[in-house]
Symmetry: C2
Subunit: 353 residues, 2 copies
């Protein structure tokens, strides 16, 4: 991951979003400023809460600018209500700053549904994209796997899945740095007669398509962690449940491992000796390392940090945003969707009909 943005960038930050905001947000920003010299921040939120936190971290002062926002979107707020009543919220004003050209991208650890609704309303979708998707990176045995959609769309047709494949492939090239990433569709089996109509139709379109996508075919849930392909496409209902199931299983293992390693004096001594190796293992699957879910398909960079994250996770979400902006992931999506329309004579939406 790059640590110095090539040109000066400004990131708008929802300083009030997340379980431990605004403190973890300010500390996350501070972590990033240490290494990325070319990035400055607009912090949206309640100045009386944020200013003392910024003042404590002196190096922050020249790099951040506070912008007053009195309202905060609650974690349980319905997206439609947030959109209607949240015009003066820290989340909305941070998004507006990007639309106004005052910032290059926005990061929030707040309400996912509200953030998506606002970002979609303000940024609009990129040309040819029907619906944005949430994409994130998962650890795998082979390396890393991109999964999308993680919850933006509970119902998806074949056309949406095909568009997610195009966007996910661009994301993998930029974020994972892969030249020719492989793409699979999540299903209940690898055989082509399995699954619902949407996945079967999407697979048929991708198989016949002239798009420069290395389409692998169907993959199953365990392929996320096995790393069978680089990008896995699914609807937002299944994707969200796969994401949370993986998180839950990881927590179960961490819980059991910790319990095991204090269960006897021998185990404690063993844990001490194996400590560095176990810490290296934990770092490999630390969810904070993978923090930063990208809203793909919007005409603006918006990254969602995990609601329960700490400053380390939030800093990684910011780095994800910086990387996406610096590498021009939205330019890449625009380019690929233009190619889809011009080269094949149909856009994926029409082809999926």
């Amino acid at each position: 991951m790059m640590e110095i943005a090539a040109k000066p960038l400004t990131i708008a930050i929802d300083a009030m979003g997340g379980d431990y905001a605004p403190q973890m947000v300010v500390e996350g920003v501070s972590r990033v400023t240490k290494r990325m010299k070319n990035v400055r921040f607009l912090l949206f939120g309640r100045s009386d809460e944020i200013a003392p936190l910024v003042d404590r971290l002196r190096r922050l002062n020249p790099r951040v600018e506070l912008r007053e926002a009195t309202d905060v979107i609650a974690g349980t707020e319905r997206p439609s209500m947030a959109l209607r009543n949240g015009r003066n919220s820290s989340m909305r004003l941070a998004i507006d700053a990007v639309a106004a050209g005052a910032a290059d991208g926005v990061v929030s650890a707040g309400n996912t549904g509200a953030l998506m609704a606002m970002a979609k309303f303000v940024f609009k979708t990129l040309p040819g994209v029907d619906r944005p998707a949430i994409a994130s990176v998962f650890p795998s045995i082979r390396g890393r796997t991109v999964l999308l959609d993680l919850g933006a769309n509970v119902c998806c047709g074949a056309d949406n899945l095909v568009q997610f494949a195009v966007m996910g492939e661009v994301f993998a090239r930029n974020v994972l740095g892969l030249k020719n990433p492989s793409v699979g569709i999540l299903n209940v089996g690898e055989e082509d007669f399995k699954g619902n109509e949407a996945v079967k139709k999407a697979a048929a379109i991708l198989q016949q398509s002239s798009l420069a996508i290395r389409f692998h075919g169907f993959v199953e849930g365990d392929d996320i962690a096995l790393g069978t392909v680089d990008v896995i496409v699914t609807d937002g209902f299944t994707g969200n449940i796969a994401l949370k199931t993986a998180e839950g299983t990881a927590r179960l293992y961490t819980h059991l491992l910790k319990s095991a390693l204090v269960s006897s004096p021998f185990a404690r001594l063993g844990a001490l000796l194996a400590g560095p190796a176990l810490r290296a293992m934990r770092a490999r699957v630390d969810p904070r390392v993978y923090d930063g879910a990208m809203f793909l398909g919007l005409n603006g960079v918006c990254v969602k940090s995990h609601g329960g994250t700490d400053s380390l996770g939030f800093a990684n979400a910011i780095r994800t945003a910086v990387q996406l902006i610096a590498d021009g992931v939205n330019e890449g999506i625009k380019h690929d969707f233009a190619y889809v329309s011009s080269e094949s004579g149909t856009d994926p939406k029409l082809a999926a009909g």
Copy 2:
């Protein structure tokens, strides 16, 4: 788990199903005969392959009976083709034996779709049940969680989900031995405005229902491993992907832990000292311990063992079948569905419209 069936039982075994059949099947049967004195077996498959294996394990001879079946259903066979052409297969003849009264239940590690299609065709569904579901038990931080459907139905309406809730609750009472298990519906969030139409409608029905079900509401993917509720209901598409995602994550963790513990001389020594604790931990999440997915809602006991399982897993699948038969889980489902019809005046199917 009970180790002695109260009354003599006969289990029909598909001896040819599974990646390592028939050897792992015969060895699995042998494991069970050691402890369960009151169970005998009908082994369906190619006698020339099975007989030598049985002869090697002498104690098996008085407990097993071989039944010739020349055909074997391939793992990649379409369910519809298996149903049409598999009449002389080991899988089908084992199912037929139960229908004919020669056995009390059937266990197979073969093709899941084919097994479900055949079992449904031969056994039919229980009164009031529209569609059978595949249920299995997952390890959780709190203990164990039942999840269904794991893949029998890729598309489910609200009525199906409600019926799965009723069946899953009976299963949890019998298999987990719980008096009043709690039931949740898998969704992308806990708020009632989230999710697709099917889960919203199913939740509304269960909330208003006079059924004696302790309905918790919506749960998320991480609640499977956290053990927030005892039974989690979902459609077969999402359930299958959640199951496989959990399996994949578990394999990733096991892989990383093993790698970590041989990564340095200190780590190796630590692993040696913590060995017993780590083995106890592994046993707690060993998928073989949880082997045995039940086909719920059929008028016959059919248990699916994991295709890649070994004799230990297959033995546990047999134990699951014995337990379900001995505890009369199908009688319980029949009773509850009769109650649904008579007490509330509507059965879940009608109520879900």
